[in-house]
Amino acid sequence: MKVKQFALIAAAVLAVSHSDAAAANDATVSISNFTFKPGDLHIKVGTRVVFRNEDDIPHRVAAVDGSFLSRALDTDDQASFTFTKPGVFAYYCTLHPRMQGKIIVTP
């Protein structure tokens, strides 16, 4: 398995308001109907990814390799992580582990 050198910079920023979601190089993964959308997200190094829960049930985003873990996101909560290394980062929901996605980070 590839060694993941992913560094977590903006850890688990929980925001109930939408006010922090406007950075130019953000990418968004929405969570609805127990699905991460898009399931495969392609980004450049340095991109901040915002996970936003649109379900009426909490979800919690966790990297398979343990490199990032959000808090439990209630409805409309979001968490963001900035990806500083290239690689493929698989993640899932710790409450509903059938929910899975990938962040594909290129230089």
């Binding site: 127990f34 009426d56 582990p97």
Partner: protein, 315 residues
């Protein structure tokens, strides 16, 4: 409420009362070591069950803190459920709570749950749901409250009226892509716990996520649940009680009865009938018919415990 020595449960009238209330929880009667649904009792069985002095109660998925469209007042429906418990003519010996006590593992939610559920005046045996372990301490708040005297993430066993009860935890260390998970340490403990038990000992196993696969696409099953069932196969009476799916699904397989309880907070869709298993919003006048508790009556000499599900519709 009557005294223990006056219990003649389940009389026909009481059984009917219990059925009216079939949405809050499940009242279980252990009859001859086998839990049996009171709602399924025929006259002869009912006569036999009259000699049963022992009932316990299951509540599940109270989700204290939930306030979304499917039930903006989940705390009120939990109060109604406990009100139903207190009003039972035959006082149950104890309650089991099969997890998702809280919605988000907040201390205030645990406090509210403890206060409301404590109002029933019954001992409560808890196992956690996945919603009870998402605090910053990854389960510390649950362990602080309910972990005393338990092993691992909170599993344990106890005996009551000759029935062996086992509370399992299948909501910890869930693997990406997987279902519920017990893990080798817990399975080894279970094998050891059961090894000296006579095959005639009635067994009741309870855990949050169903131990058999109800619907894998929605995660409604336990990856290593089959190993539990294998360990239980030699017993003459096994009852498996779960929550998590917020609806009643029951099946009987040989000497094993599987039963899931309703939630006291919100219903979820039947397997595969919706895009996702999230909270199901129903017309307000229908909600309480889809919430409930479960009564289990235990009596000697029959194969199954009596399981009756009661809704909150009358409360």
């Amino acid at each position: 409420m009557r005294d223990e020595d006056q219990i003649d449960y389940p009389s026909r009238r009481q059984a009917l009362e219990c059925m009216v209330w079939a949405g809050t929880g499940v009242l279980w009667t252990v009859s001859g070591g086998v839990p049996k649904s009171l709602g399924l009792l025929g006259t002869a069985q009912a006569a036999e069950a009259v000699q049963s002095p022992f009932t316990f109660l299951q509540i599940s998925d109270s989700h204290v803190g939930f306030n979304k469209a499917a039930n903006p007042h989940a705390i009120e429906t939990l109060k109604s459920a406990i009100g139903e418990v207190k009003a039972l003519a035959a006082k149950p010996a104890f309650m089991i709570h099969t997890g998702d006590i809280t919605h988000l593992s907040l201390a205030s939610q645990f406090d509210d749950a403890a206060q409301i559920i404590g109002g029933a005046g019954l001992d409560v045996h808890y196992v956690p749901g996945e919603h009870d372990l998402v605090d910053d301490g990854n389960g510390k708040l649950y362990a602080d409250r309910y972990g005393k005297g338990k092993l691992g993430a909170g599993w344990s066993s106890f005996d009551d009226h000759g029935v062996h009860f086992i509370g399992l935890v299948n909501v910890v260390n869930l693997k990406a892509g997987g279902l519920g998970n017990l893990g080798p340490e817990q399975l080894a403990w279970l094998a050891d716990d059961l090894k000296d038990k006579s095959a005639s000992t009635p067994i009741v196993v309870f855990a949050h996520i169903p131990l058999w696969t109800v619907y894998a696409d929605w995660g409604w099953g336990t990856d290593d649940g089959a190993q539990v069932l294998q360990l239980l196969r030699r017993f003459g009476s096994v009852t498996v009680l779960n929550g998590h799916i917020h609806q009643i699904i029951q099946k009987v397989e040989g000497h094993m009865t599987f039963h899931t309880a309703r939630s006291t907070a919100f219903p979820q869709p039947a397997p595969g009938t919706a895009p996702a298993p999230g909270p199901m919003t129903v017309p307000a006048d229908q909600l309480r018919k889809m919430l409930g508790i479960t009564c289990v009556a235990v009596s000697l000499g029959s194969q199954r415990l009596a399981i009756t599900d009661e809704t909150l519709a009358g409360s």
